[in-house]
Symmetry: C5
Subunit: 352 residues, 5 copies
């Protein structure tokens, strides 16, 4: 997760400058308006100067992609009277996940996380949501994402009938639920990685490079940093009543909070499993070293005396017994007895 | 413990889909109705469309087995007006242990845990309980279980007389107490495993495979994840008064809370004992390696100089002393003296 | 500490069954009644059916030994109208240390701990105390104990004069203070063990078996489990005013709470000291291995080239220089120079 | 971070004595006065005896550099009626970071931290800020610093227009925000060090000296000690309303608090990353040792039997088979077979 | 820190028995009485039966040295009506640091700590302070100490003028501040030990005995046990207003509390530094072992094949190539090539 880049030093706060990677060529706006009977999905390249803050009865969801386009964002900010500090938090991809639960607006900053299957890395994307009076929901993402496709699909097809009947606070729930589902999906992925790693360690720990274990640890840590603050957000939505949320959607926020707690607990479990893996790896490696030492010891211990005996009879000294006719077979007998005795000893001491 | 599977993406919340393993062929319903004088136990294959919500004076306990049978569950849900979100929590085997203590219902989600003696693994089963007005208790389990047999037995035989005299809140207590007893039984099992492992380590640490220690750790971690949330449930039943619980059963809930705390503390103790075992194992292994190193060192240290002396007199160089008649015995004397001196030295340095 | 044994499955709660070891042949009752002027100590084999709940002005202390005698205990329970759940906690030697601070009674469950000097183990005994209106104190122990002898002695001899002048709440304090003193005595014992072990490790770590360190750790863990809950008990006696305790004895309960905190802090210190010992042991062992490795390396490093030189001149190949008259002394010179040079090198590199 | 030096023993508290390093030759005062239309920046060598506490409408910022000049500081203290205990905290470079939020003044003690690129060390500087009624802000630093240049620049050029329009509480925010930005800059630097170290470890852990890892740890610990107390300061400014701060600047203090939390979280992440590096280093080193052991073992295991065979046929004993014409090639065949067999074995056992 | 010795068993609480080491031959009393104009310092061997509780306007400070003199202490206790439980805490050198903040008295029990420069150990001394109405401060120490000399000096010389103008609560502050300064002095000492040890480890870790690292750890642990409770004392003096303390001395108690927090934080830092040292030591030792292993491996790996070749040509077998005239130089060439090739290989693999 990138560190918050310092505000360019001579710049006053609230200056709108994009700090972060550019993730899409052109910024895009998806504008969805719906009520129980109608639903209207439009894709725009630029924000229309008028006509958005329509009828209150309709829910308006404006999804903006491409934070690098500061000018477009500034126009949206102006149209919905968003304060500059809020816009700065939306723009600044390094800013902290948080919720600001005011009477006039609910402002959520969080992160989306996706698995890059090729590179085996996690990709973190900055995401903000603004719930305003008049059933308006604004969301801002760095680049294209498929996280919210099911929500859009539900609005379009009106499956279950609930999303079109309910208002903007239910939509807020649906969007944040998609984000948490997103976390749980990444957890599933990491969980599988942990299980796969565990199996490889069980089969042959020496086949695993220690770097792989630490790469896994890094991914889990990264996930945890992203997931940790979500509890604060869901808790506040549940606890701090606001005129922007209705009692009808309260059970859904209870459910969301449950999922957030579950996500945090699961991340803790992942951390512990991954630390268990590293501990196990060290034990296995240390055992292996013991194994190697044992072989070395036994081998040396068998051959050192044999070589010594051979060395004795290699001396250019007058050795009476070496001149006996059965000297050579006798020496061989000594070799075999010595080696056999040692092998028997090692077996008894459970070294082999 | 399986991670919460993502809700199929395009599906609205509250859709009734079973996510989890199918544990029984056919779903089954056990319906028990009792008061102080009568007791009626029926087994049904399908939920009767009428006639369940009988007289208030009687306690009704409906136990449903086989969560895969979503249609049957939906019918029960309709009959008792259970909300879809609640049904989803009942169905979803990955959902979190929790209590929802409302005025109109007390909803408990928890896990049952059993030891699979053959495979040496723990089997976790999803379990939900719903206490409704009119002395109705509904319980839902994934598959067959013997956990509640003693409770059914007590109702049937009326031993002690209390269970039939008291109402649905006492039954709730009896069921949850059976669940916690279930945990303590598994703990007894793991405690024995820890003690057995400890004894094996004390006798000969090298006989223990490091994988066994980590398998034990995994089981204890799994137990802890299941047991940890029980405190929240028993605490809420004790603390948050509800019109569904009476003062008569309060001492029993105090007792249940005590057992829950004890279960959690015992799990902590198990964790610590198991971590102690692993620490001890590492120490023992490292000691053993020291032992091996010592033998290797002493052996090499004794034979290297001897082999060297033998090597000298093996040289094809004119060596005046080698031609002396007593050369061979003298060399042997040198061998013996050299080896004896070293052995004495090693003994004095406590290496042997 | 034994795990709470499961309540036999088909048995209702509150059934009086002794679960635990039988520690004495026959149960016994010691009945003490005193006021400022009189003191009466009686030993009984069975509880008298009448005549115990005498005059209020007198303090009555009934001490029951031998929890296995359930029938006798039930009679006492009946005489003082003790509830079945309370009796179950008294009987059940595995139940948790706790306090129940009601208006009508103060019920304390705790553990006594003693050192078995022969077997070097700790012996934990279940102990309960019940303070009732009418200056009645009931205590229940598993087996014989000397923990309360000083209290009995003080009552008998009236040293200091306070114990006879004060009432049952002061007696409660005196009994619990004896229990905490008991803990501090065991701590003194373990403290000495830790210091003795430390000294042995400082002298020669290899003389210590790793099992001894873990036996010490186990004892300290066991003590901690017993001591930890005492704070809750003393804190509640101090904080929760009850009509059963008077302001006169408050300073004594403040003092008791201080001792309890001290006991807990000291246990923490013991834990840390013991963990320090194990850490030190590992360091010492690893250092020793380094030492051994250094010797092995130096030895091999000196003898390998010497043996090689001897091997060269042992070859059956025409070696011109080997035929020179001063060949043998020259080779010896080479041996000595080579060995001396290496020794000098090792010294400079601080390997020897 | 230097420890608080003891107050010279016979000296009463509140004596103004500079304890710390002298960081600048001469003390200096920078006096800035501004309102929306005017801005006046003066550099002074000595504090003017009159004329500072000018018009309320103007903001006065007096920045004092050079804490060793106690006399000058005392004169400033007198002019603004600062208490001696406050002056002592300003002077004493070892005193703790803290905030004193009184009605009449807000007093902040904190630290600035800079990276010394040459020596690869962190330089910590003591810094105090005093916000007084009458829009007066006094700041005190040990030596010259560039931390506040952007703030001065913003005042001078009036970029954004806000800083000149707002009052002293906004200036306080701007100064403290510069300090926190300063922390985040140092974190960026350490983050880069951690990443660079990680890359070096991944390439070749043996190239890294263990001292480098601990130097990095020390720097991160030092940073953490400086950063940790900032939360208390920003939290108090946010929470404890004072007549010295206005509602207009509240959102800025919320923002500052966010940054402070982010700084603390990031430091935690740095700590964990650095501890991960050390853990990885140990694993890599232990793996390398395994590698070395394997090579040693395989080598010895191959050559010991070969040398033994050669030793046998070097014996000066009558060996019938040695006199056969094909003896020499046969022995070579034995050498090759023996070595090849072992290599094959090692490959199968995955040792090579 | 000595464990609280058990109260002799048959003794009632509040019995005055000295438990601890006798640190001085004779007990001594230093009586100081002062107001703004006068100051009177007297040394007494025994407590005068009358005339101490003089005029309220004067501050009376009675400092008692030599807790073993129980009779003298009892007389002081009687003169100032100190309760027996308080006297017991004063006497009992093992009792816990604490504060009792009553309306009629403030009672502080704490420890003084000094460095024994010769023996490199810390010396802990029990110290109590009692602030009574009528501007009376009583202090009790085990043996002679120089900790309070600066305070006495300030009273005598009236430097700063404050101590003589202020009352007994200011004196209490001055005494406790001297105790905390005392802690910070010991910390400076340990800090220097840690830095010195760090430097030694950086130069050559093998020169450090592992026992030295653990001795340092023990000293820091001992300090921490003494320092930890001071926060509770200073916090209570700050927080719990009492008629014995005036608002004038409040800023001084704020200052004292700051110092106490700083002392605790610094002890934490010391702990961490010391644990870092041990961690570093282990890494350095393990690295060194790697180094040794590498040398051993390279040496064996070079000489084993050479010795084998020499062994071959030492065989008493007909070897055609050994009879060639250039056999000997060719073998030498083989020796050199083999060794050089290996050295080149080791260099490429970065083993040498």
């Amino acid at each position: 997760m990138p560190i918050r880049k310092r505000r360019p030093l001579a710049q006053p706060p609230g200056s709108l400058v994009h700090r972060g990677e550019r993730r899409t060529e052109h910024s895009q706006i998806r504008l969805i308006r719906y009520d129980e009977t109608h639903c209207d999905i439009t894709k725009l390249d630029a924000f229309p100067l008028e006509g958005v803050g329509g009828e209150n009865a309709q829910v308006t969801w404006l999804h903006f992609t491409g934070l690098h386009d500061v000018r477009e964002l500034a126009r949206i900010g102006q149209a919905f009277s968003i304060s500059n500090l809020t816009l700065e938090d939306i723009l600044h991809t390094g800013s902290r996940s948080k919720i600001e639960n005011h009477e006039s607006e609910i402002f959520v900053v969080t992160k989306m996380i996706t698995v890059d299957e090729q590179k085996h890395t996690l990709d973190v994307q900055h995401f903000s949501l603004l719930l305003l009076h008049g059933n308006i929901v604004l969301t801002f993402a760095e680049g294209p994402t498929t996280t919210f496709d099911p929500v859009v699909e539900r609005i379009r097809t009106n499956i279950g009938g609930r999303i079109r009947r309910f208002k903007a606070d239910y939509l807020t729930w649906a969007i944040l639920d998609a984000v948490v589902d997103n976390y749980l999906f990444v957890m599933d992925h990491l969980d599988e990685s942990v299980i796969a790693m565990d199996e490889r360690l069980q089969i042959d720990a020496t086949e695993v490079a220690v770097g792989e274990l630490y790469a896994l640890k890094r991914e889990i840590n990264q996930l945890q940093r992203v997931v940790r603050p979500i509890r604060e957000i869901t808790g506040s939505l549940l606890r701090d009543s606001s005129s922007l949320t209705t009692d009808t959607s309260l059970p859904f926020f209870v459910d969301l909070n449950d999922h957030a707690i579950q996500a945090i607990e699961k991340t803790e479990d992942l951390r512990e499993s991954s630390s268990s893996l590293r501990e196990f790896y060290l034990s296995a490696m240390s055992n292996r070293m013991n194994e190697v030492m044992k072989v070395l010891t036994c081998f040396s211990t068998i051959f050192l005396p044999l070589t010594f005996i051979a060395g004795i009879y290699g001396m250019n000294v007058k050795m009476p017994e070496a001149e006996l006719p059965w000297a050579y077979p006798a020496i061989w007998a000594a070799f075999v007895l010595c080696a056999a005795g040692m092998l028997w000893l090692f077996r008894r001491m459970k070294w082999l």
